[in-house]
Amino acid sequence: MADVAAAREAAPASAPLLQASGIEKTFGQTRALAGAAFDVVAGEVHGLLGANGAGKSTLSRVISGQIRRDRGALLWRGVNFDPSGPRAALAAGIGMVMQETSLAPDLSVLENIFLPDLARPGRLSRRSWRMRAEAILATLGQTDSLPLAAEVRRLSAAQRQLVEIAKALAVEAALIIFDEPTTSLSPGEVERLFDVMARLRASGRGLVFVSHRLEEVLAITDRVTVMREGRTVAQGLATTRLSQADIVRLMVGQELGHVHQARVAAGAAAPVLAVRGLRAPPLVRDVSFTLHRGEILGLGGLVGAGRSETLEALFGLRAKTAGDIHLHGRPFTARHPAQAIRAGLAFVPEDRRGQNIVPDFSVRENLLLGHLSAHRGFGLGYRAREARIKALLARLDLPEERLLDANMLVFSGGMQQKIIIARWLLLEPKVLLLDEPTKGVDIGTRAAIYEMLREAADAGTAILVVSSDFEELLGLCSRILVISDGATIAEMPSAVLDEAKLTLFAAPRSSMAATTRLLGELASETGGAAFWALRDGERLFCLARAGDTDPGADPGFGTGATPLFGETRIAAALGQPPGTFVAEPDGRRHTLLVPVHSHRGHDFGVIGVCIARPPLPDADAIARRVTDLVTHQM
């Protein structure tokens, strides 16, 4: 953390464009912002970071005028600033490039760029529009990449983004906020976006870069501000002095008090659901895991990583295009939810009001909705479930007589959630899938929900929980599966994990595809094994591993593993400085480690090659290939 202290001193010399301090914002009962501070100077790219729900999107929306703050000071060019809406912010010179673009898809590119002009009185001059648009694209170095007459709906995601940027420049925005701008871009497009951003920085504008992607943050930003639970925990640190690990520590925080009692790993319990190579475009690319009887497995990852979509594909709400699913050892594919329910699956989707509650039904009928679907008669068959409903309600501390005929919507979110989970427990499912089961639920009810899930697991139900709250995952689940960019990258017991490690694994890596390719090449050419790993103290985080033809070359860990150096089969090599092949004391394995540094000097871990038998390949040649990879991809 010494670097963090040093970075703090590197404050910028120029006067800030925007200064925010003590910003607070409450939605209903949720405190989205509780003292956020932030500043941007002209001619910088400022990264705004934080875990899921840390408040970075809310803060950007406050700055861009989409929502109004409850409290706090916001100064724009030194003057108090309280925009009444996005138009007021835009008029003042603050533009935002959003994840879900705010363009009118049926209008042309040109009309979209000058959309704010439509609100002005007077005649519109298309000719002057065209000339100004061409000038803007020229300053971005993108003269030929955007057909001005095309309808926006026909453009690619990257082109639409360019339209948004041009739109901000058309009103001469001095500050542009980019909210997760690289999510739907290919690596080449990301590079082009960064080029555009660099030009904007050089022109003296202030840019805010909101992102989960640590590699990209390190590549493009000059300073970063880190948020956690609605507060700013580090403001304006110089990027060059920070490492990925520093940022992750700031995002997660140090206080890792375990309020949950983690479950013991399932051990030898029978596998219930085995998934291999599940693919359900566009978000789910390659998901594999095994879920055992009586186990609570956590599905961790960032928003947009494909977690919810994985559950939907398992439950038949989303078509899968590849992959094998085995339920109790038999091949299983659900084409629609009714089929999944009959096979013993149950699913609680994330959006309580939108996907779970039937608002015009009583609590009783809401409870029985899963039953209604599983029931195979012409009638209702409600009576057969009455005894079980009574027992379930008694166990959940829900007063039966007051509850059953009442409307769902009069109850608190926590109570509604308990009823929705009870809907599925009523069917005694073999597999229970839950998506963010405690979202918007108060602390007290959370504990009750955990208790419900533990009891169900003890009774033999296999449970798969998606949650953005990593602390909850670590506390509730015996094992955690990490999904990043639609692929499982780690499956491990929660005992070896903490929030920082989980965050490190979950961060999407734009360089993953190219690196995996290089590892495959290295492994097959040398006949050994190759891996990419981060080192943190005495622990190794294996991000990717290739090559298993030669058991003698096995370094002792696979993708997603987090062993201590001493627990691997290449302990000696890990303890030596990198650059040359190091033999283990028993002489069985030779390991070469090549450090990976981005072009700005950030540590991206090491790439290792393990070989069982000489002849050893040329270490320098391998190092050159790693350097090539960095120049092209990172």
């Binding site: 699913f347 939108g354 996907q355 779970n356 509650i357 608002p359 679907s373 599983a374 209702l380």
Partner: protein, 322 residues
């Protein structure tokens, strides 16, 4: 909030039931008309009221199914017209029963066509049934050669006026269909699925209910019942006009709405619809008895629709949505 509802006194609790409120409205209309016109309460007139309710009532029952899923069926009037014409053409060859079956099958088939377009291809029900409405009326003209069909078998008339348990058979059919519809919507898996779809389609889908089938089925019911209404109407007047059923969809939608259903779906009841039909028929009948110009009847009905919806909105805002 939940405590308040639990502690409501029985009477207030009853008043929160939608049908009860609508029944109250019907009684108010009934008493007012009885006081205003000496002819209103006569047995003949009361039987006449029920007789006049049959066609609108049966069509409105089908409309209730569609509106409960959140859709709308504008084609019922045309479906009535074209299926009645088909029946008239078929009857000389197939006999009375054959002709009736042709009409009902054609009505169900047209409903299936609309239902598939709405549910499977995700088209707006308003637009699909608007199209079917135009097609149906045009086919009614073409099949009938723009003329009324009046060479119907004389026994056809018995379909309407043979008493069953002392009630004319068309009124008995109306009541039997409402009892069946009520039982279906209240006590079967399919009925509850229809409500669930209208209330929250996504939740119904995620819970594994057969959303596709039960989004199509209400249109089939609506088409078939429109045909049944056409059969009874033709039997009553022993003549089939290609114009039969024109603007009937408006009466049916009005009855369902006055009966307390939400056009967004999920809320409403078949009993409420029946009460809605009776309110409309009573007002028409009463205004006739009072000698009010028929041109004013549209204004009266329209005013009642708006007042009923406004009252419903104000009351449900107070009782928390129910």
């Amino acid at each position: 909030m939940s405590e308040t509802i639990a502690r409501l006194r029985p009477l207030r609790r009853l008043a929160t039931r939608l049908e009860i409120r609508m029944l109250g409205l019907a009684l108010v209309v009934f008493v007012t008309l009885s006081a205003a016109s000496p002819f209103f309460l006569q047995t003949n007139n009361l039987l006449n009221l029920l007789d006049q309710s049959v066609v609108t009532g049966i069509v409105s029952a089908g409309m209730s199914f569609v509106i409960l899923t959140g859709g709308i069926d504008l084609s019922v009037g045309s479906v009535l017209g074209v299926t009645a014409v088909l029946m008239g053409l078929a009857m000389p060859h197939l006999g009375i029963l054959g002709g009736v079956l042709v009409a009902v099958a054609a009505g169900a088939g047209i409903g299936l066509f609309s239902g598939v377009l709405v549910a499977r291809f995700d088209l707006a029900s308003f637009v699909v049934t608007l199209g079917v409405m135009a097609i149906g009326r045009s086919l009614a003209y073409i099949f009938s050669g723009q003329n009324s069909i009046s060479d119907l078998p004389p026994g056809f008339n018995d379909l309407v006026y043979t008493p069953i348990l002392g009630i004319p058979s068309n009124v008995a059919t109306l009541l039997a269909l409402y009892v069946l519809a009520w039982l279906y919507l209240t006590f079967t898996k399919g009925g509850r699925t229809i409500y669930a779809i209208g209330s929250n389609r996504e939740a119904a889908r995620a819970a594994g209910l057969n959303v596709l089938a039960y989004s199509i089925m209400p249109y089939v019911v609506s088409g078939a019942l429109a045909a049944v209404a056409g059969v009874l109407l033709s039997a009553q007047i022993l003549s089939i006009d290609p114009l039969a059923g024109t603007a009937l969809e408006l009466d049916a939608i009005a009855a369902v709405v006055i009966g307390g259903a939400s056009l967004a779906g999920g809320r409403g009841s078949i009993i409420g619809t029946l009460i809605g039909v009776l309110i409309m028929v009573m007002i028409r009948n009463g205004l006739n008895l009072l000698g009010v110009s028929p041109f004013w009847q549209g204004s009266a009905i329209g005013g009642i629709i708006i007042a009923a919806v406004l009252a419903e909105r104000l009351v449900s805002a107070r009782t928390g949505g129910h």
